[in-house]
């Protein structure tokens, strides 16, 4: 069984919660039997100029040093418009596996034609996935993410946190669009995971914890407590995200 956390963060010392070195983090992963983490810079690593340049560079180095253990997503602040698109393109060329958007923290509607779509266009061109923070009623509502998915059916899109209290919205979006997945980090409970499997299908559900903000122990427990078969749990705990990553690699 492969055990991969589909939504984590990784910042350098002073720019995010510890552990801040790849060695410390790998020691933790080895201790709990975790194979890999999909990871992106935390909000805390944003620079005074509101970019993630330094944080993205740090995380790319981590991935290069430990390939197969870390799958890096670049964090992009789309308000920089043309520069943001250029940064995204450069990141994808340099080996990032996709882009992490945080519509709440960077204050933009998830389905913005002006800010978001040009960046997703680049992901479509170079291959990769998009992870959206989700869970609020305004900028990050799952329905807006569904709009992106409908316009970019080739791009795998993950709705973060299973949409939190909007979990049924997130689940239905994942059911209606083949390219949409949900991650379980900070999700409202075991029942949301069971509903996601029931409605959207087990292949659409990805275990995640939002580590180190979130608790790997707690979110893994949610999957293990779910009334699901061992096969389904194995897919959620890593099999599904591994399949998505393998497909991205194959297509690149």
């Amino acid at each position: 069984m492969v055990y991969i956390d589909a939504h984590t963060h990784f910042g350098m010392k002073g720019r995010g919660m510890p552990p801040n070195t790849p060695e410390e983090r790998i020691a933790y992963m080895d201790r709990i039997g975790m194979d890999a983490m999909v990871t992106s810079p935390p909000y805390a690593s944003i620079s005074p100029d509101r970019t993630y340049d330094e944080a993205n560079a740090f995380i790319l180095n981590v991935q290069r040093k430990y390939p197969g253990r870390f799958y890096a997503l670049a964090r992009i602040n789309p308000h920089f418009r043309r520069r943001a698109v250029e940064k995204a393109e450069k990141a994808l060329r340099n080996g990032f596996w996709g882009i992490k958007f945080h519509p709440r923290n960077e204050a933009f509607p998830a389905n913005s034609r002006e800010l978001v779509f040009p960046i997703v266009e680049k992901v479509k061109e170079y291959g990769g996935l998009i992870l959206f923070h989700s869970g609020e009623a305004d900028f990050s509502h799952p329905t807006l993410i569904g709009d992106v998915a409908e316009n970019f059916p080739e791009v795998p899109i993950i709705i973060g946190h299973l949409g939190k209290i909007y979990y049924m919205d997130a689940i239905l979006i994942a059911k209606w669009f083949d390219n949409v997945y949900v991650d379980t980090s900070f999700c409202v409970g075991v029942h949301a995971i069971e509903k996601a499997v029931e409605y959207a299908g087990v292949e659409k559900v990805l275990y995640a914890s939002d580590y180190p903000q979130g608790s790997v122990e707690l979110d893994t427990m949610k999957v293990k407590l779910a009334d699901l078969s061992r096969r389904d749990k194995a897919l959620i705990l890593g099999g599904n995200v591994k399949r998505i990553l393998d497909e991205i690699e194959k297509e690149r």
Partner: protein, 248 residues
């Protein structure tokens, strides 16, 4: 003594299979829970069979299972008579109202006789709160304020709302109680609302609950562990408060 202040047994369209009192006892044993408050699950509108099952469970396990009587105020007088008997003759310890499931507003005139009966019998009322217009947290606040002699347990998702929107009310409305379910387990698994409530509002009015089998005991207990609740707070929240409230 650890008491789970809110669990269910019975049959429900929301579950895949019937959840018996033996199923509940098994989960309690596995997680070190000594006793549980039990209520019939939704949906209604009829709860006679569900209440009967809870009554039989409490009869069978007198030191471990305590019944909460689920009533539907739309049935008015007839229901009130049953509710009174439930407390006086059948040993139920509290009433349960669910405005969202039974489709009435908490401020509706059909609720007032239930409140009066609870006051007369001196039993608390558990009220399921939600973002539904039938029973928002502010509706519970108003009810508690208007009926200071009735102890009201506000349920589900209300803890965080009460803390963020109504902290002085949460602190000073002494007849308003809170249940812990569902704990969210935020950064590092720490539930900030739980910590804040215990440390700044009132540790004597918080009741541990899991909503088993809707919720999971293991998960709720793990979040409490990760939150790092002190032994004193833990003792109150995990049993002493509910024991005092329900006169167990």
């Amino acid at each position: 003594m650890i008491i789970d202040a809110h669990t269910y047994i019975g049959e429900s369209i929301y579950w895949r299979r019937k959840f018996t009192v033996e199923d509940l006892i098994e989960r309690m044993d596995k997680n070190g829970i000594d006793a549980a408050m039990v209520v019939a699950p939704p949906p209604g509108p009829y709860y006679d069979d569900g209440n009967k099952m809870v009554f039989e469970a409490a009869e069978k396990y007198p030191d471990r299972i305590y019944g909460i009587y689920r009533l539907n105020p739309w049935f008015r007088e007839e229901e009130l008579e049953k509710a009174e008997k439930a407390v006086l003759n059948w040993g139920f310890k509290a009433f349960h109202l669910d405005p969202q499931n039974e489709s009435y507003s908490i401020s509706s005139s059909i609720v007032k006789p239930v409140i009066d009966l609870a006051e007369k019998l001196d039993v608390p009322i558990y009220i399921r709160s939600s973002q539904s217009q039938f029973c928002p947290p502010e509706g519970i606040v108003f009810l508690a304020y208007s009926n200071p002699n009735v102890k009201i347990i506000t349920g589900r998702s209300t803890l965080a709302t009460m803390l963020s929107a109504f902290p002085p009310i949460s602190k000073h409305l002494r007849n308003l109680y809170f249940e812990t379910y569902p704990l969210r387990g935020g950064h590092n698994g720490v539930d900030r609302s739980l910590k804040l409530f215990l440390e700044t509002i009132d540790p004597s009015r918080l009741l541990f609950s899991s909503h088993t089998p809707f919720g999971h005991l293991e998960l709720e207990l793990k979040i409490i562990e990760l939150t790092g609740v002190t032994e004193d707070y833990r003792r109150l929240m995990m049993g002493e408060n509910v024991r005092r409230l329900l006169k167990l």
